[in-house]
Structure formats: structure tokens, C-alpha cells
């Protein structure tokens, strides 16, 4: 597109308003992933997950409206209901049940809150690296994802290729999250947000994926949330802590 300003030949031309908006949403998904990565409070991590899923649903609606793929509306609605409402509520209830977020006045005290144990469920110090260094590592990994996918030169008929690179960066940062954080809940959140990254990729490369497949994925996610909930409960019941450091002794 032509620009009115003084522009030289070396500039990067602005994308169209639609592509720009789509890219902004995709980058928002990535920023939410980074937010979960550095967030020290479980409650806020879950909220960021809900926000990320909401952004993804918004992106699905945008694609549905602009590319005339009406089945994506159903997908957006379903993924909103599951990932923005049900899964965060399930996680919240479970965390409240074991007293992790019982200290918050808005969440009535759970069975363990107030006891000496509630301190052991804190995840604030669960970074294996310092937060700033961990963010720098994640930036490097995200950059790797960005540029390797860009080098493949994949083009998509529905969304700009930048969104694809961003989605791969989301997936990689989710991996780094799971590796760097040493508490069960962060790792579960990392896994769930990994699925968000995959959904974003699917939206870019295969927006017309049959609805039944997408729905199957979403129910897989629900199962994953329940399984993770169970694992977190069992782990907390045995170790009385969210930390996975105790599991190291299981190594052969």
C-alpha cells in the first residue's frame, strides 16, 4: 500500500488493517504466554490462560467473519465456553480445594489455608532461573521459532504468515514454561496453553479443519484438565507441596 510519509525503499510496508489486527491478536496471544511464564501467582496464571483463550476465540471470530467460514463461529463459541469459562473454573475450584489460593478474600478459605502448610504451596519461587534470565531465554527460543518457521516460507490463504510464526513461538515458550517452572500447576498451565498455541497454528494453516476434529481436540483438552487436576491433587496430597523437586528422587 502507498504511504504518504517520507518513505525510503528499505522500509517494511504496513500490512493491511485486517492483517495488522490479526497480527496484533496473535502477538497478544504470545504476550499472554509470556505473562503466564513470568507470573508468580497461580490465580493470575489461570486468569492469563483465560485471557489468552479469549483472544484466540476472538481471532476465530475474525477469521469466520472475513473468510466466510461459518463453522468457525461454532468453534469459537465452544472454545470460549470451554477454555475461558469451564477450564479456569475447574482449575480455580481445585486450587481452592487444596488451599493454594485460599488466602485471597474473594476465594473463601480452603481446608488448608491458614495452616502452616499453605506456605508450601506457593509457586512464586518456582523459577529454575531468575525471572529476568528466564525471560531472556524464552525470547531466544521464541526467536528461534519465529525465524525457522519464517524460513520455511509457508503461506496461508486465510491468515498472514506472521501469525504462523507467532503460533510456533507460543508453543515453544509453553515448552520453556514447563521446563523452567518447578511446580505442578505451572506445568499444567503450560500444557493447556500449549494447546492454545496448537489451535492458533491450526487456525492459520487449516482454518477449514472439519469441525468434528476441532471439537474432539477441545474435549481432549477437557480430559487433560481433569487429569491434571487429579495429578495435582494426588501430588499435593503426597508431597504437601506444589513443587516437583520431590519427584527428582524417583530418578533411577
Amino acid at each position: 500500500m502507498s504511504l504518504a510519509g517520507p518513505v525510503l525503499a528499505t522500509t517494511v510496508a504496513a500490512p493491511s488493517a485486517l492483517a495488522g489486527g490479526v497480527n496484533v491478536i496473535a502477538v497478544g496471544v504470545l504476550l499472554a504466554e509470556f505473562g503466564m511464564f513470568r507470573q508468580a501467582m497461580l490465580r493470575d496464571q489461570v486468569r492469563l490462560y483465560a485471557a489468552q483463550s479469549a483472544l484466540l476465540s476472538a481471532l476465530a471470530v475474525v477469521v469466520a467473519a472475513t473468510r466466510h467460514l461459518p463453522e468457525l463461529y461454532a468453534l469459537a463459541g465452544l472454545s470460549f465456553a470451554l477454555k475461558v469459562v469451564v477450564v479456569p473454573i475447574v482449575l480455580h475450584r481445585m486450587l481452592r480445594g487444596i488451599g493454594v489460593i485460599g488466602g485471597d478474600p474473594r476465594w473463601p478459605a480452603g481446608s488448608y489455608s491458614g495452616s502452616a502448610r499453605s506456605g508450601s504451596t506457593d509457586i512464586a519461587g518456582s523459577h529454575a532461573l531468575g525471572v529476568a534470565s528466564a525471560v531472556l531465554v524464552a525470547i531466544a527460543v521464541a526467536a528461534f521459532g519465529f525465524f525457522t518457521v519464517a524460513a520455511l516460507g509457508l503461506a496461508s490463504p486465510v491468515l498472514p504468515a506472521t501469525a504462523l510464526s507467532v503460533s510456533v513461538a507460543v508453543i515453544l515458550v509453553a515448552f520453556v514454561l514447563m521446563i523452567v517452572r518447578r511446580d505442578v500447576v505451572s506445568q499444567a498451565i503450560g500444557f493447556l496453553s500449549l494447546e492454545n498455541g496448537v489451535s492458533l497454528t491450526a487456525l492459520v494453516v487449516a482454518a477449514g479443519l472439519p469441525l468434528i476434529l476441532e471439537i474432539a481436540f477441545l474435549f481432549d483438552l477437557l480430559v487433560a484438565a481433569v487429569v491434571f487436576g487429579l495429578l495435582i491433587r494426588v501430588h499435593h496430597g503426597r508431597a504437601e507441596s506444589m513443587s516437583t523437586a520431590d519427584l527428582t528422587s524417583l530418578r533411577g
Binding site: V12, A17, G20, V27, A132, L136
Partner: protein, 320 residues
């Protein structure tokens, strides 16, 4: 009404506007902050009265301090008076001296001023002033990469790093505003400005607790007119940074496109209004967040760095 002002007069107006309006913007921020906390708060004009009072007082220098101590406030003020020549304060068209330096040039002059103030603080031998100076330089070193990446973004978008060119590009179409690179760079710059002006996630602006002080601790030993110059200078630095954010990145509208008297007056009013609005936003942030512990400031700068780097990445992918 269409009588054109001579161009040098317009350029002079840029400096005078910045110098005169700067304490007022500080006044607006502290007033809004106080109102949000349920206090009556000082008058908006209070910073002007403070400056007038300080200019009437006698100046004292600590024993053993050298000429650097007294020269630094004057030299820093000179730096702050130079930067408004380089950035689009009032006009959309480049003024003759505006091409003396680009964004990096302006950044260098601002850091020179901050370096001189730190030097004066070191010269005093006072532990708190020295602590402030050393902290300010340490954290300046880690915010510098953020500024550089913001400049890279600007350079990739416009092919030059003249602030006038970016402002013109932003005005040119809506697509230039909602591209991720622009939003990310503007957000990163905003975080840097919060750091540079000593606002809340980094530093309590009005606090008296020396342990958390960074910028505020540096002029501890200065007094009288010299202290007034430092206070005025830091207010000017704040308005200069706000101007860069507003007139180059976020809202480069309401600037004069001709050197007529009326457009220039309107541009002055628009600038003051926009800066006051940004000040209100900053005051709300001041009241909504807690100050970070000193060792957590790296996390804050890491977040700013993340935004700036992502901006450059998306540009390289061609979708920024």
C-alpha cells in the same frame, strides 16, 4: 490570521513551550494523584512557586566538592533545552535545526544530562546521592537496549530514524497504527518512560524513603538555584519524553502543519492537553501498582525488552 511566523521563532517556541509547560505537567500529575488518593493535593501551579522560592534561596556546596558540582545543573539544563529542537514538539514539518540529530541523537543528549547529574552527585561525597547516582547508571545500562530496539523498530518502519518521519508515517494511515510493531514499540517506550521519569513500578516519585530512591536521590546535596535547575530539568525531561511518546508514536495529531500564528498556538494548547492526559494515565498507574523491589526492576526492564524485541521480530517477518 494567516500571518506566518518566521521559522526560527517557531523553533524557539518549541523550546519555550517545553520549558514553561514542564512544571505544570508535573503539577497536574501530583494533583491528580492526590485526588485519586482522596487528598486535596497541591495546586497545579505549585511547582512554579517551588521553583520561584528555590531561585531566591542561597546556594551551598558541600566542602571539598569541585566545580563539577556547580556546573552540572547548568550543563544538564542546557541539554534539556537542546532536545526540544530535535523532536516534533509543535510542527509536522521538520524545522531547520530538527535535522541536527535523530532519535538517537536526542537520546544521547538526554543521557549526557543524566550522566552530568550523576557526576555531580558523586562529587558530593554524600552516601545517598552516590547511591542514587550508581543505581541510576546501573539501571540506565539495562534500559538502554530497550531504547535501541525501539529505535530499530522506528528505523525498519520508516527507513530513517528521524522522529518527524515516524510521526508522518503514523499519520499516513490506520494500517500504520494497528500494526503490531508500532503498538509494541510504543508500549516498550512507555515502560522506559515510566522508568526514566521515576514513576511507580520503579520508584516512588514523592517518597522520602532513601532506600528505594534512584533518580530522586541524586540532587540531595544541591540547594538554591542549582537545586531549582535540577528540579526544572527533571520536569523538562519528563515533558520531553512525553512529547516523544505522544507526538512521535501515539497521537501525532494537532500539530501545526504551517508556521501560522493560529496553528502554532493551537499546537501549543494541544501539546499541553495531550501531555496532561498522559500525566493522568501515569498518575492512575502510580496509584494502582506497588513499587517493585530494587532487585525486581530487572524483571520490569525484561518485560519492556520483550515488547521491543517482539516488535523488531514481527517486522523482520514482514507482518509487523
Amino acid at each position: 490570521m494567516t500571518a506566518d511566523l518566521p521559522i526560527p521563532v517557531v523553533q524557539f517556541c518549541q523550546v519555550v513551550t517545553t520549558a514553561v509547560a514542564a512544571p505544570g505537567v508535573s503539577g497536574v500529575i501530583s494533583r491528580v494523584e492526590a485526588r485519586l488518593q482522596g487528598r486535596a493535593g497541591p495546586r497545579i501551579l505549585q511547582p512554579y512557586y517551588d521553583l520561584a522560592k528555590l531561585f531566591r534561596k542561597e546556594a551551598l556546596a558541600p566542602e571539598g566538592s569541585s566545580w563539577v558540582f556547580l556546573a552540572a545543573p547548568l550543563a544538564a539544563m542546557a541539554c534539556y533545552l537542546t532536545v526540544p529542537l530535535l523532536i516534533p514538539v509543535l510542527t509536522t514539518f521538520g524545522l531547520p535545526l530538527g535535522y541536527m540529530g535523530d532519535i538517537l541523537g536526542g537520546g544521547f543528549i538526554l543521557s549526557l544530562a543524566s550522566f552530568l547529574v550523576a557526576l555531580a552527585a558523586l562529587d558530593t561525597g554524600s552516601p545517598y546521592a552516590q547511591l542514587g547516582a550508581s543505581r541510576a547508571k546501573t539501571f540506565a545500562a539495562i534500559t538502554e537496549p530497550v531504547v535501541l530496539f525501539v529505535v530499530f523498530t522506528v528505523a525498519l518502519v520508516t527507513g530513517t530514524d528521524l522522529p518527524y518521519a515516524l510521526a508522518a508515517t503514523v499519520r499516513s494511515s490506520a494500517g500504520q497504527i494497528i500494526r503490531p510493531a508500532h503498538l509494541l514499540a510504543a508500549a516498550a517506550l512507555f515502560l522506559v518512560i515510566l522508568y526514566e521519569t521515576g514513576r511507580i513500578p520503579v520508584e516512588t516519585h514523592t517518597g522520602t524513603n532513601e532506600f528505594g530512591m534512584i533518580e530522586e536521590a541524586r540532587p540531595f546535596e544541591h540547594s538554591g538555584p542549582y537545586f531549582a535547575l535540577l528540579r526544572w530539568g527533571s520536569a523538562m525531561k519528563q515533558l520531553i519524553l512525553y512529547t516523544i511518546l505522544i507526538n512521535v508514536f501515539v497521537a501525532p495529531w494537532g500539530l501545526a502543519s504551517t508556521p501560522g500564528l493560529l496553528p502554532v498556538l493551537l499546537a501549543i494548547a494541544a501539546l499541553v492537553g495531550k501531555a496532561a492526559l498522559l500525566g493522568v494515565v501515569v498518575a492512575v498507574i502510580d496509584n494502582s501498582f506497588a513499587k517493585l523491589r530494587l532487585f525486581k526492576i530487572t524483571e520490569f526492564t525484561a518485560a519492556a525488552f520483550l515488547l521491543a524485541v517482539l516488535g523488531v521480530f514481527t517486522l523482520y517477518l514482514g507482518g509487523g
